[in-house]
């Protein structure tokens, strides 16, 4: 038995937003794979709260493409749905990889992309990937909806830019941000499944012949929030991705990261991964075996 105060289930976004806005004690629950675990460990953020279930809101789960070719992923879309979705596989393959790297099959069947983002963990596998796609997040509240760049969403460990009464409803990726790009995601963890990333590295690369036209690199667990490696991205533009260039690029990634020591991994080790994983991820994205 979980120790929350009440549970209601919204049938529309408006209903959910009203319930959340009108009750400071209300909290969102989607798949529950984070919230229920926190409740069980008697996390004050959830014990005694009024939970608002959102997974049965029509249209909140699923992947769609509009006439422009922009892609919308509902916040309640499960990791399994993302991993197996035809559009994702075709256009956003690295997001499928990230979703498929989470937990095990049972967790992926229930956990949602919205929950992965909204719980604010720097280790969230989908968050780093979405940064490379310049994704924007659709947020609803009583005054309607607005979009926010994914890179502005995470503000600190476990903290995101969502006010009481706001609901993350969708993730949007513009056609220009995936078309012509190739991406990959490497989750570095101790186990092959059921694990949290020691470091996550997402890359998205667009080639012009044998020259890098555009490169985006994002990390999870390289700082308090998922982050982009802007200096390395600038460095890569216009260069041929030779082994030597990639090695240099790996080191430049450290200019933007803020890895720290924790009992899970030493800073020096995380920094080694920060320099190595982008090289491998780029090689993988470009069709190599990743062992650059």
């Amino acid at each position: 038995m979980y120790d929350f105060n009440s549970y209601t289930e919204a049938h529309s976004i408006d209903e959910a937003v009203r319930a959340l806005g009108g009750n400071p004690n209300a909290r969102v629950i989607a798949g529950g794979t984070d919230v229920l675990i926190k409740l069980r460990s008697r996390d004050e953020a959830f014990v005694g709260r009024d939970l608002e279930g959102i997974t049965r809101i029509p249209g909140l789960a699923g992947v769609s493409v509009d006439t422009q070719g922009d892609i919308t992923i509902g916040a309640a879309t499960s990791f399994s749905q993302i991993e197996n979705d035809e559009t994702i596989t075709r256009c956003l393959a690295s997001l499928g990889t990230a979703a498929g790297s989470i937990g095990g099959p049972q967790i992926r069947n229930v956990g949602t992309i919205g929950g992965n983002l909204a719980n604010g963990a720097t280790s969230a596998d989908t968050a780093a990937v979405l940064l490379t796609y310049n994704a924007s997040l659709v947020i609803h509240d009583s005054s309607g909806s607005h979009e926010m760049p994914a890179c502005e969403f995470h503000t600190g460990p476990g903290k995101v830019r969502l006010e009481q009464g706001q609901l993350l409803t969708a993730v949007k990726i513009a056609r220009a941000d995936y078309e012509g790009y190739r991406g990959s995601y490497i989750k570095f963890a101790v186990r092959q499944a059921m694990d949290i990333a020691t470091l996550g590295c997402a890359v998205l690369v667009k080639m012009d012949g044998n020259v890098i036209e555009d490169l985006r690199i994002a990390f999870g667990v390289a700082g308090p929030t998922p982050l982009r490696a802007a200096a390395a991205e600038r460095f890569a533009k216009g260069k041929v991705p030779s082994g030597k260039i990639l090695e240099q690029l790996g080191r430049i990634c450290l200019e933007d990261t803020k890895a720290r020591d924790s009992w899970r991994a030493a800073k020096a080790f995380r920094e080694q991964l920060i320099t190595v994983l982008p090289q491998r991820a780029i090689s993988q994205a470009l069709g190599g075996d990743g062992n650059a």
Binding site: R191, Q192, A193, I196, A266, F269, V276, N291
Partner: protein, 768 residues
Amino acid sequence: MKNKVIGDSVPRWDARAKVCGRADYTADIPVKNALHGKIVRAGIAHGRVLCLDIEDALRVPGVVKILTPADLPKTKFATAGHPYSLEPGGDVYDKNILTDYVRLYGDEIAAVIAETPLAAAVAAEKVVARYEELPFYLTTEEAMADGAVELHEGVKNNILADTTASVGDVEQGFAQADHIFESEYQTQIVQHCHMENQAAVAYQDADGRWTCISSTQIPHICRRILGEALEMPWSKFRVIKPFIGGGFGNKQDVIIEPLVVAMSMAVGGRAVRLELEGEEVLAYTRVRHAIRYRSKVGVTKDGRITAWQMDAVSKTGAYASHGHSIAAKGAGILSTLYEIPNMIYRSRTVLTNTGNAGAMRGYGVPQITFAIEAMTEKICSALNMDSFEFRLKNFKKEGAPHPLNGIPMATNKVADCLTQGKAAFGWDGKMAAALGDKGGIIRRGLGVAAFSYATAVYPYSLEIAGCRLTMNQDGTVKMMVGATEIGQGSDTGLIQIAAETLGVPAEMVYAEAVTDTDIAPFDTGCYASRQIYVTGMAVAKAAQELKDKICRAAEQFYKISSQVLDIEDAYIINTTTGDRVASLGDLALYTYYDKARARTLTAEVSNNCHNNSYPMGVTFAEVEVDTQTGVVTLLSMLNAHDSGVIINPLLAEGQVEGGMGMGVGFALGEDLFYDTKTGAPLNNNLLDYKIPTAMDVPELGVLFVQPVDPYGPFGAKGLGEPPLCSPAAAIRNAVCQALGFEIDSLPLTPGKVFAAIAAHRSGGEANV
């Protein structure tokens, strides 16, 4: 006698029930009107509880009672599941059911009894303790330092025991050596992680005694410890063990049973359930001893060991539990693996404010095997001597007496395990591939490690086992043993031993899932890989006795001398004519219902075993090491075992594979951490404590060399624990071969391997 059942892969008798969800574990057994218990745990690692405020907690709706140390007996008890000893110097009696002196973070300081699990959890959170804090020690060095506070009064420098075992004269041995090698090895704290958490329910029965249904490996021992802990005659308790979801030694300690019975006593005999959470099991039940070994070895230039000096410091945590027996066992392991003319083995067991170490599959042998076999490779590589040649030259020989207790190692096929395993593993081909792969980022390596083990605990402790066989009305046989099936398959093996002896098919012998101390014959339970061996002896003797009774009954009813009767395929056979005299079913009807002569046929044997046999074996491992990330990928692994005759190959393979899987975790990922600032455990959950998933264990090879052991039933020796003894050592040796330098501590996590590579490259200290 024809051998029909031994060596057959008979399916486990309980497989169908388990695969349908019909096997009842402790939490599945309905008990009327039960209350729920929750332990209140200390929030400091060392200190005294000055006061305990339970007022707020008592006000939580649904709370029935809160127990504190003041409510419970003051007598201390020992939790280790060892047989009771009539001689002094046995287990350490250092535990109270609840304590006002905290020795580890999470120590048990109070307990809530409530109508629901949630009410109990909420109330437990509201119990407020005020402490006088004392310095806490997470390492043995800190705990042993002069001036350190004694965790238990009178345990000087927190050294629970300090013993030395020796053979010959090491100084003389070192003088004879051409080379001396020295090194230090360290293992980590790991945990059993059985899938079923500790669970128990207790209530007062109709006769006024106390029944405790518990997931225990040692029901009969548990009963005695309940008596000791609660200061009542032992017969006042009845312990019932239903199906068990794994134990691996953790349930060889009596951890929650005294408390749950005390809870029921506190509420007038109403049933109380106590089920630990996964986090509690990981941090606050028992763990494996982390042990630091120092070895000094003398070797001649042609590769013969002349002397081995070993010093072990074992971290037992906050309480003695199994005390010194785990560290001390190492002397026998070292001296039965290799022929060491001069050996000295010192071991110290040290109390620290960390998780309480107790029995865990292998009982110290995975640790010492890591240290022995790492040193062995160091010697081979320094002498530029083949790993196989060196081992074959130095292995203890079959038939040689155990150097410390004199019992001959009647069978010892470790050399055959090495040579046959090498071929089966494809060592030479794999080695060629590994040697051709030294320049790149990803490097291959191979490793081998051998181990010695002992079956059961004779001559150090009592070895007693019981079996009762009853012929049913249709000629089938009910088998009752006090041994404890915990998943390893011993019940099915024992069925086979009974069936083979009796001359019936395995499906005619029924086992019993429940071990009930009021009903089952006395047996000390599941530990030391003893059950097929020791209980198997009792079963074989009982079966022989029943068979003799059946033949004598048949003589009476069918007028044929029992001297010429035998049983085959459940028929009584006239051996002179080869004719079937009658089926067991026909005879059984007479033995039950013949008005004049009916006597039901039962045989009960209590067997006191005065032997020991030595399971031996070797692990072969092939790894890839990513030199940029420190990731070790285990490509293949094979265990070759001499466990004597294998009673059931399919189940035996399963045991071996399971042990190898645990070995993978021990080698590469598992490590229980503590916060150096608070002493709190950091990763006591299955996300952060990394036991292998199905994606982390490679394809596993298993090979059995099967000598017929003269002591074991049908030639069998122990197999439960041996599979976990050598994998970690072999994996470590493979990693070192891949890297070309040594890493001397476990586990080999990516972070540690990378740090070692970085240190090695920068010319720093290679050993980590």
